[in-house]
């Protein structure tokens, strides 16, 4: 239960600064009177033995100050990246015609810090990516899209993916409905249409994504689940998608997905 309660509202004791470490990023929080001091810096992941620390290292932090008369509590809110992810499996593989495979992969999240203002409205003060992802281009130079690149392992079982709460487990089902072998080396995953769900222990899940490949010259159907995935029980919804998928956006996604196998 190391990370239980990480996404819930937390009380803050005045003038007792705290640092939260997310991999090699650290977020420092302090409250002095009406001022919130929020610092973002780096930390050595090797030295990370606990998520929380009661000290603040001012040398590698950049502090921003916010003033509010709201109550002394804050909430950490995870979200998925603001652009699509181009997934490159560490071990590219092929899916035979007629096959349907379900994989699990972990997606890096962004962390937002919210506090309540005087009228108890939740205001997000800061949002930062836990992992600095490289940028990449998906599609042709005219109609393509700027994405983040992510090299990752695709797993057939999700249980080994519970390591840290700032990576979300994403179930991905690919059906090869074409008469050809599908070489899976790059896949554009539109994470802006995915919600986040948390387990009681603080680990994150996204909706299920289903892709039907109908051939390199055919549009491929991508559907995003609208509810929590069935693989884990007791998931609670904690973040809505950045963009709501509708018919037109799904249509647009087909176009992007169309050329992924021969890009």
């Amino acid at each position: 239960m190391k990370y239980a309660g990480i996404w819930q509202e937390m009380k803050f004791e005045d003038q007792h600064p705290r640092t939260i470490r997310f991999g090699d990023k650290s977020l420092s929080i302090n409250r002095m009177g009406q001022n919130w001091q929020i610092g973002l810096g780096t930390s050595d992941p090797q030295e990370m033995d606990s998520l929380w620390s009661d000290s603040v290292n001012p040398e590698n932090q950049e502090f921003d100050e916010y003033i509010t008369e709201g109550k002394s509590s804050f909430r950490l809110k995870p979200s998925l990246p603001d652009k699509a992810l181009v997934i490159s499996p560490l071990r590219p593989f092929n899916i035979l015609p007629g096959e349907k495979v379900t994989f699990f992969l972990t997606l890096p999240v962004w962390i937002g810090l919210s506090v309540n203002n005087k009228s108890q409205k939740e205001i997000q003060l800061k949002e930062f990516p836990v992992s600095d992802l490289s940028q990449t281009w998906f599609g042709d130079s005219l109609g393509g899209e700027l994405c983040y690149g992510l090299q990752t392992e695709l797993y057939s079982d999700w249980s080994p993916l519970y390591s840290v709460p700032w990576k979300a487990v994403c179930p991905l089902t690919i059906s090869n409905k074409s008469p050809e072998i599908l070489p899976l080396s790059r896949l554009c995953l539109r994470v802006v249409y995915l919600s986040l769900y948390a387990t009681k222990r603080g680990y994150l899940w996204t909706n299920e994504v289903k892709v039907q490949f109908k051939g390199p010259d055919q549009v491929s159907q991508i559907t995003f689940g609208q509810k929590a995935p069935d693989f884990e029980k007791g998931l609670s919804h904690i973040r809505s998608p950045r963009e709501t998928p509708d018919k037109s956006i799904i249509k647009k996604s087909f176009g992007f997905f169309r050329g992924f196998s021969h890009y």
Binding site: V86, Q135, W137, F138, S141, L142, G144, G149
Partner: protein, 284 residues
């Protein structure tokens, strides 16, 4: 001259002006102003998301000029000025005006071509001869650029039609080329591998399309390498600065030597070192 005397004489005009006409003109003026403002607001609200800034500006200007003409006609009617006589005079004035404004007409027609061809839009960064800047407006006679050192540059449309125009920001991604010269002693495979690694580590370089690393050839003092990295068009300055810094740091760390122009002087027919003889020992 008789034409103008027929059309209007100042004494007639003053006789026709009374308080009622003045009030009506004021009301028309205020109404025109309000209608123009309302129209601009409506355009902004209703079609801003569906049309480009340039089209919006074109619609607004067309409406403004059309409304101006209507307003002038209303004034003429209020003063009971003979409109057919004005049209007659307009023929003569038009010829004179046309002769006097040949260049302007050329610019006007070029402007229409530019609007139809759309080589650039408002907000694009373009380069014309030695001028480079953001397109501020595209008007009937000229385009206006805002240069990066914040100068306002007017370029006649006719000149743009007859000159090479480079639209720098037309496509969402661009390639930045960096020429790097290394000495002949360097291991070129290692140089290429280090450059590849630099592009993968730099967060402003796109992973795809892949960076171009090209050994350009043997030059007088160096072997030149072209490093072409793709980037999102808004990251030009960040990429340029970070890439040069990264290359310098990594080459220093890896012991790769940058080449610079130099001349080696040899004696004799072979490339033996230049013979130097120490004739006198220097004392401290």
């Amino acid at each position: 001259m008789n034409y103008f005397q027929d059309i209007i004489s100042l004494s007639d005009l003053f006789e026709k002006i009374d308080v009622n006409i003045l009030i009506r003109l004021c009301v028309y003026g205020v109404l025109s102003f309000v209608i123009l403002k309302l129209f601009h607001l409506l355009i902004k609200k209703m079609i801003r998301s569906s049309v480009s800034l340039q089209t919006m500006m074109l619609i607004q200007k067309s409406f403004k000029y059309a409304w101006g003409i209507i307003f002038i006609l209303i004034i003429l009617r209020e003063f009971q000025i003979d409109f057919t006589a004005i049209l007659g005079a307009a023929g003569i004035v038009g010829v004179a005006f046309g002769v006097a404004s040949r260049n302007s007409l050329g610019n006007l027609i070029s402007g229409l071509f530019l609007i139809g061809e759309k080589p650039f839009e408002i907000g694009d960064v373009i380069s014309i001869e030695d001028k480079k800047g953001v397109v501020h407006s595209i008007d009937t006679l000229s385009i206006k650029l805002r240069t990066f050192d914040n100068l306002y540059v007017r370029i006649p449309n006719e000149k743009i039609i007859n000159t090479d125009v480079i639209n720098i920001t037309r496509f969402p991604i661009r390639r930045m080329d960096l020429d790097i010269s290394v000495t002949y002693a360097e291991d070129l495979e290692k140089v290429m591998s280090v450059l590849k690694d630099i592009t993968l580590q730099n967060r402003f370089c796109l992973n795809e399309p892949e960076a171009l690393i090209l050994l350009k050839g043997f030059y007088a003092s160096s072997i030149d390498v072209l490093l072409g990295v793709w980037f999102e068009k808004s990251n030009f300055i960040q990429l340029k600065n970070s890439l040069v810094l990264d290359v310098k740091k990594r080459f220093d760390a890896e012991g790769i030597e940058f080449a610079f122009p130099h001349v080696s002087v040899y004696t004799g027919t072979h490339t033996a070192p230049f013979p130097l003889t120490l004739e006198k020992e220097l004392k401290n």
